[in-house]
């Protein structure tokens, strides 16, 4: 009979042998895989050809199922058409006027990207007399670090902590943020604060839907509030709250919160009466029914609504920033508009769209993971 330890060592040996064999076979396998590539290409091409013929045959037919490869290619067509059109216009305009800015060439676009994303913007600082101090920064973090180390070797700093505190490296990180990052930070802060207020709207909607007397007080008012076009009250907001952050956040909240409140209200109304009665027969008090029976049922659906309204949040954010701001994505787009600097506007638009897309995707996956009971 084998002991446990014996078994373990045997298994370990077996694993070692397997691993060795796998390693020994690896070069041969790779070679085989490489040999397979031309055949694979031929197979794919044949597949595309077959699916293409099928497409021609069935193009005007209902209820057909397009193949995988041709579907992917078809989805690319409009993107390619757009790029081609853009390229043609760009070339045409640049033959007329080589300094054209409206339709930048690929090189100009790349420079714009580099300028906004990678290039460090030095934040101007003023001394007590109101004169500009020019910060001369090292070109990279590594260079700054090297500079610091040299200074430490020369005993300009007492210890490493002080070196980090007063050195060039931290200065680089602190001041040397790219334009895009600065704007994103400013806009993100506004969005986050506005989101807190919007989430407070869920609570109002819950109370409004659950308690009939609260409904009588709030419902008409919120309905009317919802109909006010937020952009029309923008001047009023700027007059009341000033040109600071408050007015921009207020604009987002006024624009989006009523939708969230009304949606929560409708979702609460959709909860079956049986569930409330059932809760009562289980001895739940009034607030327990609201917060332990109604709330968990509606919250994933309401979060979905908030997710879909993220587009409106960004819309109002950019509208607010366009009028008056010191930094922000909307602000930057509307500033460089004056110089017709398309090479800066393009990366900003792409960046904000990407950001919204990523936030949306993350939120969606979080909801579906958090509330598994929804996946019926």
């Amino acid at each position: 009979m084998q002991t446990k330890q014996n078994m373990f060592s045997l298994r370990f040996k077996q694993k070692l042998i397997d691993g060795g064999l796998w390693l020994a076979r690896l070069p041969g396998k790779t070679l085989e895989a490489f040999k397979r590539i031309p055949r694979l290409i031929v197979k794919e091409l044949f597949g595309i050809g077959k699916e293409f013929l099928e497409m021609i045959k069935n193009f005007y037919r209902l209820r057909t199922i397009p193949g995988k490869r041709i579907s992917f290619l078809l989805s690319l067509i409009l993107f390619l058409v757009c790029i081609k059109l853009y390229y043609n216009t760009s070339v045409e305009r640049h033959t007329e006027n080589p300094q054209d800015k409206l339709v930048p060439t690929g090189e100009q676009l790349w420079n714009g990207f580099r300028k906004t994303i990678f290039e460090v913007k030095i934040r101007e600082e003023y001394d007590t007399n109101g004169e500009v101090i020019k910060n001369e920064l090292p070109k990279s973090f590594r260079e700054a670090r090297k500079h610091d180390k040299q200074a430490f070797a020369d005993r300009k700093f007492v210890n490493k902590k002080e070196m980090w505190k007063n050195g060039a490296a931290r200065n680089y990180l602190k001041q040397g943020e790219s334009l895009l990052w600065q704007d994103t930070k400013a806009s993100g802060k506004r969005i986050l604060i506005a989101m807190v207020f919007i989430f407070f709207g869920i609570y109002i909607g819950l109370v409004m839907g659950a308690f009939p007397y609260a409904e009588k007080v709030l419902y008409r008012f919120v309905l009317f509030f919802d109909k006010i076009p937020a952009l029309a009250v923008l001047p009023i907001l700027f007059i009341i709250f000033g040109l600071g952050e408050t007015s921009k956040i207020a604009l987002i909240v006024i624009g989006v919160a009523p939708t969230v409140i009304l949606d929560t209200y409708l979702k609460v109304k959709e909860v079956h009466d049986e569930q409330l009665v059932k809760g009562m027969t289980m001895g739940a008090s009034q607030p327990e029914i609201v917060f332990r029976i109604i709330f968990p049922q509606i919250i994933p659906k309401v979060l979905d609504t908030v997710r879909l309204n993220f587009k409106a949040v960004i819309l109002f954010l950019i509208a607010g920033e366009a009028l008056a701001a010191e930094a922000g994505i909307g602000y930057r787009i509307f500033v460089v508009r004056r110089y017709m600097d398309m090479a800066t506007i393009f990366p900003y638009v792409v960046w904000i769209s990407m950001l919204a897309f990523i936030v949306d995707m993350a939120f969606r996956s979080w909801i579906s993971r958090q509330y598994k009971w929804l996946n019926k």
Binding site: K278, M280, T281, M282, F291, K372, W373
Partner: protein, 302 residues
């Protein structure tokens, strides 16, 4: 009225009337239910069976008369009366075990406890463990212990109703109300559930008020059968209790009992008393033809 007096009747309805917008639904209903009875109420669609149940439950108050439980007026739904609905009895956002535990949690933990439980779970571990054991005991009783971790949408209709029964029974209610609990099930599951509920009743002696529109089911299930029907002979509309029969066979009953002569005799008798759906058509025709009958309804409504 001390606690030591063993009250015979769990539930009492005295001369109950109910009307919506002047239209009379229930007309002078009086009913007493003893402890340990299995009462099934049967009647055609729209005759006010569910209205009676809602009044017993407390989600509706009668426009005249008294609905009382253990000598006290019924005001709102509470934990002394459990309920199983035809649908939507379960909470979709909790798994089966949590659904069953939920009642105990509501009883023992207030809102503050509920939040504290997430922050300092070790303070509540012992209580939660006890709840779990109790819930598992009830789930075993309904035969769904292996589905304890599943969500309601993963269960079949019959299983869901069984969970709902466990969910109501764990509160140890004085009376268990069932509002057409088998209405949405297919024939096979329905028969199995009928046998299951009978078995549960004979084990636990739980007082049950069972409402159904299926006459055969009603006779097969209950120890006492109450037949409601629309009553028109004296010119007044609204439903009345037409029959109140004791059903003699001991429980649990074999399904073959449905094919005996006694069973069909009882059924014939009740049909004659006015339950037959074809008979309902006659009632409607009568109401349309005799306008004075409708007038009297208006008068009563005023």
């Amino acid at each position: 009225m001390g606690k030591n007096i063993d009250r015979k009747y769990v539930l009492e309805l005295f001369n109950v009337y109910q009307q919506y917008d002047g239209r009379i639904i229930l007309n002078d209903i009086s009913l007493r239910i003893r402890k340990g009875e299995f009462v099934s109420i049967v009647g055609p669609t729209g005759c006010g069976k569910s209205t009676i149940l809602r009044m017993v439950l407390g989600s509706e108050t009668p426009s005249q008369g008294i609905a009382a439980m253990e000598g006290h007026l019924i005001k709102r739904p509470d934990s002394r009366r459990g309920i199983v609905f035809q649908k939507y009895s379960l909470f979709d956002f909790m798994n089966v075990r949590d659904n069953v535990i939920f009642g105990l949690e509501l009883e023992h933990f207030n809102m503050m406890d509920n939040y504290l439980r997430k922050i300092v779970p070790f303070l509540y571990r012992k209580k939660v463990k006890n709840f779990r054991e109790e819930a598992d005991h009830f789930l075993e009783k309904v035969g769904l212990l292996e589905h304890a971790e599943n969500y309601p949408h993963q269960l079949s209709g019959g299983q869901r109703q069984r969970v709902a029964i466990a969910q109501a029974m764990i509160m140890k209610p004085q009376i268990l109300l069932m509002d057409e609990p088998l209405g949405a099930l297919d024939v096979g599951t329905r028969e199995a559930m009928q046998i299951f509920i009978q078995g549960l009743w004979s084990q636990t002696e739980q007082t049950i008020l069972f409402i159904t529109h299926d006459l055969e089911e009603a006779i097969f299930m209950g120890t006492r059968l109450i037949v409601l029907s629309q009553y028109y002979k004296d010119g007044k509309n609204g439903s009345k209790i037409v029959e109140d029969i004791k059903i003699p066979w001991p429980q649990p009953r074999p399904t073959t009992i449905k094919h005996t002569k006694e069973f069909s005799d009882i059924m014939e008798g009740i049909r004659h008393a006015g339950l037959d759906p074809t008979h309902m058509q006659d009632i409607n025709d009568f109401n349309i033809q005799h306008e004075d009958a409708l007038c009297s309804v208006k008068k009563v409504g005023e």
